[in-house]
């Protein structure tokens, strides 16, 4: 109890530091989290695709059910809006009059079972299939879906992880176009599954796991997660009625601006398929024949209609440019290398709201059956979830640092030089050697100064000057000298020891001089009364009197010598030391490890100073119990 009470200031300090870690972690981490949350590149992508009916029927039907419902649904068949009237309620579509099966699905192709859940489209029908068809088993829709592994197959690795929604797990594994069954599931966590393959996938191959019902192996073959029954009819239907999304906007013959249901649309035209009536719009743009060199203002394009944009901003006819056939004359000469484009059909004028401007005012509904958008920040929807999802926290929560400690120690085995415990040992050895050297040198100087006072006045300014030379500048010079002497500085303890000694000798000199002079006049008189020799006065009086001063300054020196040792190790690229490790971790951006190393070196400082204190108690037992 007494012992605990004696330690309470230390404990209190520790707790304050510990507690301080949390607000600091938030203070430094939240802005990063906010940035992550706002950076579209760090959002998950999702695609809208027109939905196919869940079931097919053999008889005329009046109601259809779709798996997903777009915001403004429009029924599409054979690439054009259907002519019948209908109502959409939820994901149910009610037709005004029954449609025959052939008005809902055509070109039914029976797939050939190849065994093991693999099916193939007959070769002779290959040519007709431009779109990957919808697959039905016994008239019921099945969904494609696969997930790529998080790791890159390098020909050696056998363990891989797959992300998936936390409610599901992964299905069969596919390497390139081959199904792999020889693997073990190692761990399944909330949203990730780790597997170990018997054979490492080849370098550069693609490793995927089926996540829904099936995935395409190539253009003609697909594999099911669970093989359909032998008697089941497995059909591929390229032409089926789909529920697409109609763009919002008046179709009145003059309006050109329409909106997709979702914002944050991907800018690349290849991720969208837009239609007006049955005509697919061309998302590509045309470059002018002429270079935009800052002088030319008339440009020739391939076609004679379309929207003109300059650096992504839509230009208005007459106010910004005039058109003469396929030659555009800009009223203001565009700057050199400005991006001048003609969009024959449309331009995504505002990706964040999903606004699209058409080149011609449409007279038929504008719809899409596919486009991609940024769904949500991959770190989550709140700053806090993004904070927790940060790959590196500049200031980690203190308990994270503590939790990391065992792993950090075991990161390298003890037999490896990079093991942190070995590094600590190495650096402490260097520092202790430097303390011994510095202590010896300091004491010698102090004795000389006390014995020969004029020498002190002559040399002390230089000693002080030596300490104002920045270590960071001194170390390279020392390393150069040592290197020229033929010493391998990368593995030598010498730089550490010399720099530490260089730092330590100064406080030791100053402290010991003071100590040697601190002698009680009466104690000196006593020596005089004994007619003692100067040697006796030194050995029996001045030295013992200087011991506490010596050790106090050595403790100061110990802390400084450690810093010197770390700097020396860093600059000499001595991989065996703690200093090098700190630098290495900083460069690799491993923040928790850096913090651990900081704490370790701080702790090492405390231990070294206490070690000096312990030696003091052994050497000077009369001081120990006094306090």
């Amino acid at each position: 109890m007494q012992k605990v009470r004696a330690q309470w200031p230390l404990l209190a300090t520790l707790m304050i530091l510990f507690g301080l870690g949390y607000p600091l972690a938030l203070l430094f981490g939240l802005p990063l989290a906010r940035r992550d949350m706002q950076d579209l590149r760090k959002w998950t992508r999702a695609s809208f695709s027109a939905a196919s009916p869940d079931t097919l029927a053999d008889e005329p039907v009046q109601g259809l059910s779709f798996g997903a419902t777009p915001e403004r649904g429009i029924l599409i068949f054979d690439g054009a809006p259907v002519e019948v009237d209908y109502n959409i309620e939820g994901n149910e579509v009610r037709l005004e009059q029954p449609l025959s099966p052939s008005d809902i699905a055509r070109d039914t192709i029976n797939l050939i079972a190849l065994g093991d859940g693999i099916y193939s489209i007959p070769d002779n029908l290959n040519q007709d299939i431009s779109l990957q068809p919808t697959i039905y088993i016994d008239g019921s829709l099945v969904h494609p879906g696969s997930v790529e592994t998080n790791e890159v197959p390098d020909g050696q690795r056998t363990t891989f992880t797959f992300d998936h929604p936390d409610t599901s797990t992964i299905g069969r594994l596919v390497v390139d176009d081959q199904v792999v069954d020889d693997y073990d599931i190692i761990t399944v966590s909330e949203a990730q599954t780790e597997v170990m393959l018997a054979e490492p996938p080849a370098f550069g191959s693609s490793l995927q796991a089926i996540q829904d019902d099936y995935m395409w192996l190539n253009e003609t073959q697909l594999v099911f997660n669970t093989s359909p029954a032998e008697t089941a009819s497995v059909q591929a239907i390229p032409s089926v009625m789909r529920l697409a999304e109609q763009l919002q906007g008046e179709v009145d013959g003059s309006n050109q601006v329409f909106n997709l249901a979702r914002g944050n649309v991907l800018e690349q035209a290849s991720t969208r398929r837009l239609f007006v009536g049955s005509r697919q719009l061309d998302g590509d743009d045309e470059r002018p024949d002429e270079r935009v060199d800052g002088e030319t203002s008339a440009f020739t394009f391939a076609s004679d209609t379309g929207l003109i944009s300059l650096d992504g901003v839509l230009l208005t006819a007459l106010t910004d440019f005039t058109r003469d056939g396929n030659v555009i004359t800009l009223l203001t000469t565009p700057a050199r290398n400005a991006r001048l484009r003609q969009h024959p059909d449309y331009l995504l004028t505002n990706p964040s709201t999903g606004q699209i401007t058409l080149a011609q005012p449409p007279t038929e509904p504008v719809w899409t059956n596919e486009y991609s958008y940024y769904a949500e920040p991959s770190c989550g929807n709140t700053v806090l979830t993004c904070f927790f999802a940060l790959p590196q926290h500049p200031v980690p929560f203190p308990h994270w640092i503590i939790r990391r400690a065992p792993g950090f120690v075991q990161k390298f085995p003890v037999s490896d030089e990079r093991n942190v415990l070995r590094a600590v040992l190495y650096t402490s050895t260097g520092t202790l050697v430097s303390l011994a050297l510095g202590g010896l040198l300091g004491t010698l100087l102090a004795v000389v100064f006390v014995l020969v006072r004029p020498l002190e006045q002559a040399v002390l300014p230089w000693v002080i000057a030596s300490q104002t030379v920045p270590i960071i500048a001194l170390v390279p010079v020392l390393l150069l000298v040592l290197g020229n002497l033929g010493i391998t500085i990368q593995t030598s303890l010498l730089p550490t020891a010399l720099i530490g000694a260089y730092i330590t000798f100064f406080p030791v000199t100053v402290g010991t001089v003071k100590g040697l002079r601190s002698v009680d006049p009466l104690a000196l008189d006593l020596m005089t009364s004994y007619a003692a020799s100067p040697v006796d006065v030194f050995l029996k009086l001045r030295f013992p009197a200087a011991v506490p001063f010596f050790f106090t300054s050595l403790k100061l020196g110990a802390a400084a010598a450690l810093v010197g040792a770390l700097v020396a190790e860093t600059e000499s690229n001595n991989a065996r030391g703690l200093g090098f490790q700190i630098l290495g971790q900083v460069q690799s951006g491993n923040v928790a490890d850096v913090w651990l190393l900081l704490l370790t070196s701080g702790l090492l400082g405390i231990i070294l100073v206490n070690l000096v204190g312990l030696i003091e108690r052994l050497v000077a037992p009369w001081l120990g119990a006094r306090s």
Binding site: D520, L522, D525, S529, Y530, A531, P544, V547, W622, L623
Partner: protein, 270 residues
């Protein structure tokens, strides 16, 4: 040390050759505010075996005189012989032990090692060092504290160690500069009795600086009364109280008589 001067004569004049002889000593310090005369024309004879107290108010030069005898400082003029030699030679011959106002023990040495310190310096053999130190510690009643460090002792005990240390190398003379000044009255009287015992047991010549009249009277065979500004020896008073002296001595009429005599001498100097 073998002689037991139990029947020491009360009149020191029966001794012929003085062991300490100060003849016309002047001690002048040069200070910033001019010269300070610490001691003026001091003449003093102290004979072997005497217990002489130097008494006087602050600044009368009693400590200066003691330090001159010890050759810790040199007189401005005058001659000083100690045991027939110059003060310096006497110091080099280790003729005296000095007990300071403060115990001046070395913190890093245990009690017995403190007592052994002069013996180490003077080159005594290890066995003899220990033997002598142990004997002296027994004499001052600290035989159970050999391994103790000074800071663990009371003030009185520390001063007893300091006395043992001064006696360790058996000097002929013991110079004591207000050794009991910092002690409380009870300890001080006990220490005085103990000092008298030691003196009587060893037959040393003691020069004792004090500013306490009862202390001077109780201990001394002769009291030297000094006066300040400039420091001067005013009067020598023989204390002819019989030894051994004890508690009863302090309460005797003769004691009061002697004390009064010293007090009057001191008053005269003011």
């Amino acid at each position: 040390m073998t002689t037991q001067p139990q029947s020491k004569p009360a009149t020191p004049s029966s001794y012929t050759v003085p062991i300490i002889h100060a003849d016309g000593i002047n001690m002048i310090y040069d200070g910033r505010g001019g010269q300070t005369v610490a001691l003026q024309d001091a003449n003093l004879e102290i004979h072997e075996g005497e217990f002489v107290s130097l008494i006087g108010p602050s600044g009368c030069g009693k400590t200066t005189l003691l330090r001159l005898i010890a050759n810790l400082i040199q007189p401005t003029s005058g001659t000083l012989t100690v045991t027939g030699k110059s003060a310096r030679e006497a110091r080099l011959a280790r003729e005296y032990g000095y007990v300071f106002q403060a115990p001046a023990l070395y913190d890093w040495r245990s009690v017995i090692k403190n007592v052994m310190l002069p013996l180490e310096i003077m080159g005594y053999k290890r066995g003899e060092r220990r033997e002598r130190a142990a004997k002296l510690l027994e004499m001052v009643g600290l035989e159970d504290f050999h391994k103790t460090y000074p800071w663990q002792l009371s003030g009185g005990m520390q001063q007893r160690v300091s006395i043992a240390r001064a006696l360790a190398f058996d000097p002929r003379i013991l110079l004591m500069d207000e050794p009991f000044g910092a002690l409380d009255e009870i300890t001080r009287e006990a220490m005085q009795a103990e000092l008298l015992n030691i003196w009587q047991a060893t037959g040393k010549t003691v020069v004792f600086v004090t500013h306490s009249i009862p202390e001077a009277v109780f201990l001394s065979s002769k009291v030297v009364v000094m006066s300040p500004r400039p420091g001067k020896i005013e009067e020598l008073i023989d204390i002819d109280l019989p030894y051994p002296r004890d508690v009863d001595t302090r309460e005797s009429e003769a004691f009061f008589h002697m004390a009064t005599k010293v007090r009057e001498a001191l008053r005269g100097v003011h």
